[in-house]
């Protein structure tokens, strides 16, 4: 992916007016890489739909508390009169669906599922998003450095990646989660749990993106534009961050959208091991892992958070695929 010579709008506008009569100005305007990608992306209806869903989900997550307040939803209110404790299921069919509880209630406590899905959205998306950001940042920086300098720098960083990949992540997650106590960095309770999750998931998955970036950098550094920059006297950091990084944006962006769903599922796995979010805070992963034991009695309990995760994962995947096609059509 070379950087084409950009034809700026100013240059286009300098053309004689007469030649362009009858042709709309914008049609012959030079387009930037971003514009081209955006046009391709707009044409991809599926990817657009994914993008819209992602935006809606983000809005839902950001405004989950006000939404609960407006609709008077309480995710932690018990309604045990609505459940049959012995059968581990809500009374009535469809997981206790009613006008008061449109998605039903959960089987042990009778808490409103709609409220819990809404309340869980911000936790799940924050953990997944934060962990992705962390792993992408670390992975990109180390990957670019390893790929560009090669030699002993590369072997050290590559060995580090191998070490991290070989690390027993779940054991580490459990021990961190048990050893980190209130007051750590001035955090406590839920915020601490969320930070620990972001750290554990993000810090241990950076090698995946690190390797992609490293490989991409190795192919790019032999290209003419890099040689040109270095022959003009550009030094390491300039080449890394001004020449190489802009050309790596596409794979990084695509990878990020694809890793977010993995991280949502990871949060679910950690909740299952009890090192995730502590009760009573709802999280999609936590709800799903609770539901595993009870699905024969109350399938809806698994279906609802499962559907939420499914929609999110699908939306991010479609968005990611669309972005890849738009940014780097040759990789199709």
């Amino acid at each position: 992916m070379t950087a084409p010579i950009e034809t700026t709008g100013a240059e286009a506008g300098a053309q004689p007016e007469a030649v362009l009569s009858g042709v709309k100005k914008s049609q012959i305007e030079g387009r930037s890489l971003t514009q081209i990608a955006w046009m391709r992306f707009k044409r991809d209806k599926v990817a657009m739909a994914g993008g819209v869903v992602v935006i809606l989900l983000t809005l839902l997550a950001v405004f989950s508390k006000p939404i609960q307040w407006i609709f008077n939803l309480d995710p932690n209110k018990f309604n045990q009169d609505l459940i049959d404790p012995a059968l581990l299921a809500p009374k009535g069919g469809w997981g206790g669906m009613s006008w008061d509880h449109p998605l039903g209630v959960d089987p042990q406590y009778g808490r409103d599922m709609l409220a819990r899905i809404i309340d869980g959205s911000w936790v799940s998306l924050l953990v997944a998003g934060g962990a992705t950001l962390l792993s992408v940042c670390i992975g990109t920086v180390l990957g670019v450095v390893a790929g560009y300098y090669g030699g002993w720098v590369d072997s050290i960083i590559s060995k580090l990646m191998d070490t991290f990949l070989a690390f027993p992540l779940l054991l580490f997650a459990i021990s961190i989660s048990a050893s980190v106590q209130d007051g750590f960095f001035g955090l406590d309770g839920l915020s601490l749990r969320i930070c620990v999750l972001i750290f554990v998931i993000g810090f241990f998955s950076w090698p995946y993106i690190g390797r992609i970036v490293r490989a991409q950098t190795m192919t790019l550094r032999k290209r003419e534009f890099i040689e040109a920059a270095t022959s003009l006297g550009a030094r390491g950091p300039y080449v890394l961050f001004r020449e190489l990084l802009p050309n790596l944006v596409a794979p990084i962006l695509v990878y990020s959208t694809l890793i977010i769903p993995t991280n949502i599922l990871f949060e679910a796995a950690l909740s299952f091991l009890g090192v995730g979010i502590a009760p009573p805070q709802a999280s999609w992963g936590g709800m799903l892992s609770n539901a595993v034991d009870l699905y024969t009695a109350d399938p809806q309990y698994m279906f609802v958070p499962g559907l939420a995760i499914f929609i999110t994962v699908l939306a991010f995947n479609l968005l990611g695929d669309g972005l890849r096609d738009a940014l780097d059509p040759r990789s199709k």
Binding site: F78, P85, L87, Q108, G189, L273, V275, D298
Partner: protein
């Protein structure tokens, strides 16, 4: 590669959801209910039969710690090993409360105690033989106790009560290290049929200790430590035909066993098989389809099976038995504000126990607890110091206690739970919601069960440093008496720097003394009465909040005969009685 992983994730989430939705509608078409009514095996023997023959087959979702009677702590192995090991005494194979009675087995009669309850003498029955035809002697019993209690280097699984109570028990190094002919001096074998135990302190529950599988005789010549499990020498009605580590075992009749020497065992089936590492849901289905006779673990069906059997036609084949364990919350006396009795009482009054029970699975899984001792323990006395209507808590009384404690608006504290025990997490979640109503804000912290006592809740310094005020706890007795239950959890001596079970750090001289006095009392009735009184003292101290008496939801297949729940072995079925019509 990454993409594929994600796609796989999507697929599995979708598959799970859809699969779940598909499964939910299916009922079961068994025409069950043939073998008795629901809970019939709690107080009677279901499908009573005296017909010999057939094969009893068990399955277990895990492996035993060991089938070696001298190397096990598991309740179900204690129950099961009676098929091939005769102990000095055992629990009567009978229905209901009778099952808690200790009866002589290898011994002619119960132990004869000295007046100070420090010397216990047993006389062995004449004519009892090992499977190789050699007679069982008191030396074999002595050797069995030595190897099981004093040789942790080879046999580390079992409890070590004999070591704690025998005179000089702390000095003797075990039969593998101490090769002297005498062995431990405090067990005497004056002749081949007499065995005398000399204890360092009065201990009136000794007949219960003698029920442990550790008193099943082991011939020294055949013992090779941890490997003995491969070729256990039977003294009971069955002997091992095959044993595969981690896979299972097959037991067949022991021709040397003489029914005339054994009033307890009917030994009806010809063969007993057991298979390990079978998925719990598979076991439940095998029970429902009458493929096997019993679930050896005896802890009840998987949560997935519970609604299926209770809502379906198989409800008549279930028994909700007391598991001999109480689920409670320990309020740590050294963590503020629980150093103040009024704050402790606020929790006692404020807790909605019914809500907790409902969250844990309702009546099939337990009853609301008001005492520390569960109903299936000798010495249980029914009382309720903090009685509230419908066990739903009393906010007014709780608030009054809070005011007296100097925290009229409530306080913040931490409640621990074991992350891999869903019922305990459910309990914690319900406790949290219930206490919030009276202003007590509870934060739940979860720890892995494997390290719960050794690194977290059982370590006072950790508890204090992290201000863990409320600790989830479940306790079952090693032997079903008040002492077996209480001594490890409310005696001040049970507070340890790590791995202790007295999570309240309750060290009340009056309670300690009451325990010591009662266990020295050889009057059974007075001793049994004392346990209930000690239980009341603990509740008056308010540091123990009993929540639920745990129950197992057991399932008995139609082909199982002579099925009855034994309270002595944690509420599982009695495996001495169990037979099969197949």
């Amino acid at each position: 590669m990454k993409t594929r992983r994600v796609t796989a994730g999507v697929a599995s989430v979708l598959a799970l959801s859809l699969g779940a939705a598909a499964c939910g509608g299916g009922g079961d078409d068994n025409d069950g209910g043939g073998s008795g009514k629901k809970d019939a095996a709690l107080n009677s023997i279901v499908n009573a039969s005296s017909k010999k023959g057939g094969t009893v087959s068990y399955e277990h979702s895990d492996v035993p710690d060991s089938l070696d009677p001298g190397n096990t702590y598991y309740g179900w192995v204690q129950n099961f090993s009676r098929l091939y090991g005769r102990t000095l005494t055992t629990f009567k194979p009978a229905a209901g409360k009778d099952g808690l009675t200790v009866v002589p087995d290898l011994a002619e009669s119960l132990g004869k105690s000295s007046p100070d309850a420090k010397t216990w003498t047993y006389k062995l029955r004449a004519g009892v033989k090992f499977q190789d035809g050699k007679p069982v002697t008191s030396k074999d019993v002595k050797y069995a106790v030595e190897r099981s209690n004093f040789a942790p280097e080879a046999l580390s699984n079992g409890p070590t009560y004999f070591k704690s109570y025998l005179e000089g028990g702390d000095k003797y190094k075990g039969p593998y290290k101490d090769k002297s002919a005498d062995g431990i001096k405090s067990i005497e074998t004056p002749d081949d049929r007499t065995i005398v135990f000399k204890l360092k302190q009065p201990f009136a529950d000794f007949d219960y200790l003698a029920t442990f599988s550790q008193t099943a005789p082991v011939p020294q010549a055949k013992d090779d430590g941890a490997k003995y499990v491969q070729h256990i020498v039977s003294s009971g009605p069955y002997q091992f035909q095959s044993y595969e580590e981690g896979r299972g075992a097959t037991l067949v009749r022991n021709p040397q066993w003489d029914p005339k020497t054994d009033p307890n065992r009917k030994a009806l089936p010809d063969k007993v098989t057991i298979k390990f590492k079978v998925n719990q849901v598979t076991i439940d289905n095998d029970l429902l389809s009458d493929k096997i006779t019993g679930d050896a673990a005896g802890t009840g069906v998987a949560p997935q099976t519970q609604p299926k059997v209770l809502a379906g036609k198989n409800a008549g084949q279930t028994d909700s038995s007391y598991a001999g364990a109480t689920q409670y919350i320990a309020l740590n006396l050294k963590v503020a504000p629980f150093d103040n009795i009024h704050c402790r009482k606020a929790v006692q009054w404020g807790l909605d126990k019914q809500s907790v029970l409902d969250a844990m699975g309702g009546t099939p899984k337990g009853d609301v607890a008001t005492t520390l001792l569960p109903p299936s323990v000798n010495g249980y006395t029914k009382f309720d110091t903090y009685a509230t209507e419908g066990n739903k808590g009393n906010a007014a009384k709780a608030k009054a206690e809070l005011k007296e404690c100097g925290k009229p608006n409530g306080f913040k504290t931490i409640l621990t739970a074991r992350s891999d025990r869903p019922a305990e997490v459910a309990q914690a979640t319900a406790v949290q919601a219930s206490l919030k109503k009276i202003g007590i804000n509870v934060e739940i912290k979860q720890f892995p069960a494997g390290k719960y006592f050794s690194n977290f809740a059982g370590v006072p310094s950790y508890v204090h440093a992290n201000k863990l005020g409320m600790l989830s706890m479940a306790w079952g007795a090693d032997w079903p008496t008040g002492y077996g239950f209480l001594d490890q959890v409310v005696n001040g001596a049970a507070i340890k720097p790590s791995g202790g079970n007295n999570l309240m750090e309750l060290d009340d001289p009056k309670i300690n003394k009451a325990l010591t006095d009662a266990i020295a009392n050889t009057d059974d009735a007075a001793r049994t009465k004392a346990w209930g009184e000690i239980d009341k003292m603990v509740l008056d101290n308010a540091s123990v909040v009993p929540v639920v008496y745990r129950k197992n939801l057991l399932l008995r297949p139609k082909s199982a005969t002579n099925v009855t729940v034994t309270q002595a072995y944690l509420g599982m079925y009695d495996y001495l009685l169990m037979g099969s019509s197949k």
